[in-house]
Point group: C2
Chain length 427, copies 2
C-alpha cells in the first residue's frame, strides 16, 4: 500500500510555519488532555493539535476498520496493536482530511472547532503505556569514549561489542513526557580514594542524547523476529533523554549493570513520528566489521538521517547549544536491535520502548553526554551566560531536538525538554 | 487492626488435607479462569479454589469499602492499590466466611456451588499485571559462589556488595505462571578458547531458586520509602524460577548486565501469599557487617523462615530433589531492597515485582542454581533414574516448592513448576 501521506507536494489548509517539524507530511501520533479534561489520541499539523477521537466520532475514518473507541483512549497501545496496514491507512486518511484541496472539514466551522486545538489548550501525555523499556548501547563512538575513560584506552571496546547490539532492561515506571521536571536523585556513591560509601545527592547528573522506538505486538513467547521483518514491528520513534547519575552508576553497576543511576527518570518527546514518515530519510548505516552473525545481517538502508541537538538552558539564563549529533552514526540498526532482542524468544508487546543508547558522533562536539563532552569533567563547557558546566546544575533545563530535512520536506520530533530540580523534600 | 485471619485455632468447614500449604490461616490471592471461561480473582483453602468475585456479588464483603467490580477483574492490581488496611479486612472476612462455626455460606448449597471450584476446574493465571520487574542479588552465599567461579576466589564479593542490595531490571513481558512450558533459547555465545561467537541453542540452561514480592503503589516520582515503612508497601510473595542461560550470560553481560540470558522466561507460583499470613514466621536476618548506611538500617525481625526446595523431574522419569534452602539466609531484607530501590526517587507501582536473587544457603546441598550445585558442571548431580545433570535437559520439569511451618500451622506457596522444551520452531 503506498504511503500517500508522504506526498511532498501536498499542502494543508491548516497553517504550517516555515521550518515547522510538523508539516502535513509528518502526521505523528500522541495523546493529549484538552482544557475540558478530556484525554484523546491526536496528531499535530503545524501548531495545531488535532483530536482524532472527535474526528472518528464524526465519521471521518469511515471505511477503515477500527474499533469504535480506537482514538478515544488514553494510550496508543490498541491502535499500535492493529498493525502497520492500519497505521498507514489512518495516516493517509488524515493527510486527505487536511489536504488544502479538501473542503470536507476545511469548510465545516462547527467540526473544526471541535477537532482543532492550539498547543496552549492541550497538555501532552505519555503516548503509550510502556510495558517494558529496553535501552541499547549501540553507538560505537559512545562505547569507545566510555571505554577509554573507565577501562583501557587501548582496548576501549569490550570483546562482545562488535558482535552484539548490547542492551539492558530499563524501568518503565520512570518514563515521563517532555515538560515534567526531574529531581536530582539521592544515592550511594564511593568518594574518590575512599573505601566506604556515602549517601547524599548525586553530584554528577548527566543527560544522554537518545532516540527510542515503539514496537507493536511482535511475537509469541519463544518465537524470534527475523532481522528482515523487524521494521514491520516498529511503529515509530521519539526523542529520549536517559537521565543518568554518573557517581551512582560508577559505584553500583558491577556486575549487573546500571540501576538507580538511571531509573530516577527518563524523558521522552510526546509525539511518536512513524517509521513511514521517516521513509524518505533512510541512509546506509556504518560499515560493520567484522560481519555480524547471519541472524543480524541485513542489506539496504536501515539507518535514518536524523539531525539531533542538545542545549542547556540555565534558570532564567540563555540557552547554550552543547551537542550536534545524528542518528545515522549508530552502529547497530533498530532492526538489528529488535532481531537480537527476540533471538532468544523474548516476547515484545505493543507499546514497548527500546532506546538507542547514547548517540555520539565522531567529533567532540557531537558527543551525546556531558561525560563525553567534558571528558569526565576535565574540559568544562563554556555557557553563554558566562558560567561553566561539567555536569547538569539544579535549575538547568536540558532540551533535545531532532529533525530530518531534504529539499522537499522537514520531518521533526519537536523536543524533549525537562528541568532538573533539587532533591525531593517531603512536605 | 488485628490480623484475625491468622488465628491458629480456626478450622474451616472446607476440607483441608494434612500438610496442605493452604489452611484457612493462609488465604492467598490469585486469578483464575473457570471452566465457564470466566476470569476472576480468587483464594484457596485446602484444594478448593474460591471465586471472590462471586462472593462479592452475593454481598459477602458487605461493610468493606470496595469498588463494585473489585474481584471481578483479571488482575489484582486494583485490589493491591487499595492498601494494607483493605487487604487485612478482606482476609479477615474470608477467614470468617469459611470458619467451621459460620453457617452463612456453609449451609447455603446454592451459593457454595457458585463460589467453590475444585482445582481441576480452574486454570491459574498471572495474578498481577507486572509493570516493572526488578531482580536483586541478595544472597551472600550465591554472590560469593559466583564470584569464586567467575572472578577471584580470594575476593569473591565485589566491593559494593556488602553496602548495596545490588539489583537490576528484568523483563516483565517474559513472566509466566507455573505450568507454562519454556523453550530453550537460541543465542549468541563464545565457545571456550575462541574469539568469534556462534549462534545456536543455549547449552547451559539453569534454574534460579528465588522468591519475589509484589508491591502496592508506594510513592510519587522523586520520593523515597524509608526502610521502616517499606513493609507496608509489600502485598505478598510468590516463588520465582528465574530461568537463566549461562553461556549467553557469560558472553553478553559485561558491562550492562544479563539481558537475553534471563528474559526468555521467568516462572512464578500463581498464589500470592500475603505478608500478613507470613507474620508468624518472622526471624532475624544474618548479621550485617559492615553496618549498612543509615537509610538501610533496621531493627527487629525482617527475614522470614521459608523452607524452599527444588527438584528436577525428567520426562516420564522420577523426580530428584536437588536443593533445600531457606529464604532466611538472605543477607538483605525485602524492606532494605525496597528502601534502596526508592532511595533515588524511583517510582514503584501496584503490581511491580521484585525478585530476591538466587537463594543459596551455606551448605552445598542448599545452593539455588545448577551452576552452584554442580560447580559450573564439574560435579554433576546424580538423578534417581540413573542419569546425570550438569544443567537442565530438554523435557525436564523444574519444580520449586516453599512453605513455612511451626507447631501451630503450615503456610505454603504451593509450587512453581515448568518444563523445558526444545528450541521453538516455526510452524
Amino acid at each position: 500500500m503506498p504511503i500517500t501521506a508522504n506526498d511532498p507536494n501536498r499542502k494543508s489548509w491548516l497553517e504550517v510555519p516555515n521550518d515547522s517539524d510538523f508539516p502535513i507530511q509528518n502526521i505523528p501520533f500522541g495523546v493529549f488532555l484538552t482544557k475540558d479534561d478530556v484525554i484523546t489520541i491526536g496528531t499535530r499539523i503545524g501548531d495545531s493539535a488535532i483530536d482524532l477521537g472527535a474526528l472518528q466520532q464524526m465519521n471521518y475514518f469511515e471505511g477503515i476498520e477500527l474499533t469504535d473507541d480506537m482514538f478515544m483512549q488514553d494510550t496508543l497501545n490498541d491502535f499500535i496493536s492493529d498493525g502497520k496496514k492500519t497505521w498507514r491507512l489512518v495516516r493517509n486518511r488524515i493527510a486527505e482530511i487536511f489536504d488544502a484541496e479538501n473542503p470536507l472539514l476545511r469548510d465545516n466551522a462547527k467540526h473544526r472547532e471541535i477537532v482543532i486545538f492550539t498547543l496552549d489548550e492541550i497538555e501532552m501525555q505519555l503516548p503509550v503505556l510502556i510495558g517494558d523499556y529496553t535501552d541499547f548501547y549501540s553507538s560505537k563512538e559512545h562505547a569507545t569514549n566510555v571505554g577509554k575513560m573507565f577501562r583501557d584506552p587501548e582496548n576501549a571496546l569490550l570483546p562482545n561489542w562488535l558482535h552484539i547490539p548490547v542492551g539492558y532492561h530499563g524501568r518503565s515506571s520512570s518514563i515521563v513526557p517532555s515538560g515534567i521536571p526531574v529531581h536530582r536523585p539521592m544515592g550511594q556513591t564511593l568518594p574518590n580514594g575512599e573505601t566506604t560509601p556515602v549517601f547524599g545527592p548525586s553530584r554528577l547528573i548527566d543527560f544522554e542524547l537518545e532516540t527510542a522506538f515503539i514496537t507493536t505486538d511482535a511475537n509469541i513467547m519463544g518465537e524470534n523476529i527475523p532481522v528482515h521483518e523487524a521494521e514491520d514491528y516498529i511503529f515509530g520513534m521519539v526523542l529520549l533523554n536517559d537521565w543518568s547519575a554518573r557517581d551512582i552508576q560508577k559505584w553500583e553497576y558491577v556486575p549487573l549493570g546500571p540501576f538507580l543511576a538511571k531509573n530516577f527518570a527518563s524523558s521522552i518527546s510526546p509525539w511518536i513520528v512513524t517509521l513511514d514518515a521517516l521513509e524518505p530519510f533512510r541512509v546506509k548505516g556504518p560499515k560493520q566489521d567484522p560481519t555480524p552473525l547471519p541472524y543480524l545481517q541485513q542489506k539496504g538502508k536501515h539507518a535514518f538521517d536524523i539531525h539531533l541537538e542538545v542545549s542547556i538552558e540555565p534558570e532564567n539564563g540563555e540557552e547554550t547549544l552543547v551537542s550536534k549529533s545524528n542518528f545515522k552514526y549508530m552502529y547497530w540498526s533498530m532492526s538489528q536491535q529488535l532481531a537480537h532482542h527476540t533471538s532468544n524468544g523474548c516476547r515484545v508487546n505493543s507499546g514497548d520502548m527500546m532506546g538507542s543508547g547514547t548517540i555520539s558522533g565522531p567529533t567532540p562536539d557531537s558527543f551525546g553526554s556531558m561525560l563525553e563532552l567534558t571528558w569526565g569533567g576535565k574540559n568544562p563547557i563554556q555557557m553563554k551566560d558566562g558560567t561553566e558546566r561539567k555536569f547538569i546544575n539544579d535549575g538547568d533545563s536540558v532540551r533535545i531536538k531532532g529533525y530530518c530535512q531534504n529539499s522537499d520536506v522537514r520531518i521533526g520530533f519537536g523536543e524533549v525538554c525537562s528541568k532538573l530540580l533539587p532533591p525531593f523534600t517531603r512536605k
